[in-house]
Amino acid sequence: MTNVVAREAPVGGVGAPVAARKAGPADEFFRGVTVVAYREILRLVHDKSRIVSSLAMPLMFFVMFGAGFGRAIGGMAPGVNFIQFLFPGIIAQTVFMTSIFSGMSVVWDREFGFLRELLVAPISRAGIVIGKVIGGAILALFQAAIVLVLAPFLKVKLDLQILATAIPLLVLFSFSLSSLGILMASRMRSQQGFQMMMQLLIMPMIFLSGAFFPLNNVPAWLSIVSKLNPLTYGVDAIRHAFLDHAGMAAGPTPFSVILFGHPMTMMQDVAIVAVMGAVLLAAATWSFSRQE
């Protein structure tokens, strides 16, 4: 008899059905943000190969570019050698790549089905997008930190003031780029499309952003293309953060991007990236929310 009762008992049945509880839109937004961001971090912890590759890529760049061009180019400006010029560029490139990948991981989630679990949960679509963006920024900062550890070995100057300037910049750029990734991914159905985007759009954008070589001495067509590239201003701002000397904290450096004859200051670069980021984030949220 007791057996019969046990068989019909609800499973772990304490508490009222969750369906009975009410939650507002704000609740659904913040819950979306936290669960999605939390999952990004969980996946980072589980995916050990990502940590290795995130260290390997920048190291390879330093060795190849540093050894290859360093000697040939010599000093870039008074007191700045090629590695010191390259270092902020590599940091920027790392953050760009990580953020775009993170945003575009929506394509993977869609292909492996997990996206549906998210889309049908009682969390808002905007919350999912913001959660992805925040998760992307955390991953990007983690990757950037790994590269920063290399600084002392490369004789790159790094102090608290530089870090305090650079980290908020990196977060801002990461937000923009994650948004770009989500925007592209929200209309993409397959990984093939993702590969194409990477090769035809993202890689050229990174190479023409001034991350690896200065843009002040290039042919006119390349100069125009690079100034249309939003990444250029991100790289420029981060380079400002690393190379500006104490007295001229917001002033131009010898490598500053020159727009209409005016060398950009760090804050002007930041303004451009911030506007671009806001537009991309709004577009990503809109596009992601509209999908069925």
Binding site: R7, E8, A9, P10, V11, G12, G13, V14, G15, A16, P17, V18, A19, R21, A23, P25, D27, E28, R31, G32, T34, V35, Y38, R39, L42, R43, H46, D47, E111, F112, G113, F114, L115, R116, E117, L118, L119, V120, A121, P122, I123, E292
Partner: protein
């Protein structure tokens, strides 16, 4: 109150009308099935009920909530198991459930015993720390059922719950579902193209080309076929068909070297026929009507299980990469 109430639901994809105005009601505690071939509009209907697709026109209520305007309330009150797995392969079973609990705002003190209870019931407790990547198809499906029930939903939606599973695993899953249904007083809504799975339903809606063509209990549907199905083989099948027509008024079909027809009270009729038959019979068979026969009678076609399974195999291979 009905657990699900659909009124004239329509969904159009560009030029194609996938669901052409379906209406039905599912009572609380009922197991209700949509049966039909692939492309009949079953999944589209389930997606509209789960708020994943907006109806082009018509309306539906789930647990009293409108699927177009009260999406959050609908979502909180239902559990879902999709056709393709929607687990995060990188995470363990427990982490997948924990994620779900957070997304559905299940408090920790409710979650812990609930997870333990469900995982033990579904025989997954010992392997909860493993990543789901290593799980078999049947285990994944069981975990998805556990996940779908984690937040105490009142209605569980199952889209082709046993697609790609072998018959033994399929039966096993259904033992669990029957058990859970009893314990949780669940309403279950499922789509399937497997006849044996449809037999578990209290009522079945047969769907074809986006419309419901029949809706009743499996017993009533089968009795609508008009008797038992007899299959015969004789040395001269054509002569047998003639004899059936002339002496007994039976319209038999000759297919694949087999004569088959439906007749009321087949068990009593067959021995009598065998005694009196002038043809020499080489084989005979008698069975009760199946839902396949029902579908055949209504639509004039058989549900092609074979084709669907091959397709499924290819899709699964692609996904495994």
């Amino acid at each position: 109150m009905d657990a699900i109430l659909a009124e004239d639901l329509v969904r159009r994809f560009k030029a194609v009308e996938a669901v052409k105005g379906v209406s039905f009601a599912v009572a609380e505690g009922e197991v209700f099935g949509f049966l039909g071939p692939n492309g009949a509009g079953k999944t589209t209907t389930i997606n509209m009920l789960c708020t994943l697709l907006r109806p082009t026109s018509g309306s539906a209520r789930v647990n009293g909530f409108d699927v177009a305007t009260q999406t959050s309330d609908v979502r909180r009150s239902i559990g879902l198991v999709f056709q393709d797995t929607t687990l995060d392969d990188y995470l363990s079973a427990e982490q997948n459930l924990r994620f779900h609990a957070q997304a559905y705002a299940v408090p920790r003190e409710v979650f812990e015993p609930r997870m333990e209870g469900l995982l033990k019931l579904l025989d997954l407790w010992d392997r909860r720390k493993e990543t789901t990547r290593n799980y078999s198809g049947g285990m994944k499906r069981r975990l998805e059922i556990a996940r779908g029930l984690l937040h105490h939903p009142k209605v569980l939606f199952l889209d082709e719950p046993s697609i790609g599973l072998d018959p033994q695993t399929r039966r096993h899953i259904w033992e669990h579902l029957q058990d859970l249904r009893q314990r949780e007083k669940l309403t279950i809504f499922l789509t399937t193209h497997y006849m044996d799975e449809a037999e578990y339903c209290d009522r079945i809606a047969i769907m074809d080309h986006g419309s419901i063509v029949a809706l009743d209990t499996p017993e009533n549907l089968k009795s609508g076929v008009g008797g038992d199905v007899v299959t015969l083989k004789a040395e001269d099948n054509a002569a047998l068909v003639r004899e059936l027509k002339e002496a007994h008024g039976v319209d038999a079909r000759l297919e694949n070297g087999e004569v088959s027809f439906t007749i009321a009270g087949g068990k009593a009729w067959l021995p009598k026929f065998v005694r009196e038959a002038s043809q020499s019979l080489t084989s005979l068979g008698l069975r009760g009507p199946t839902l396949d026969d029902v579908f055949l009678k209504i639509t004039g076609r058989a549900i092609r299980e074979q084709g669907a399974d091959q397709f499924e195999g290819i899709r699964r291979m692609r996904r495994r990469r």
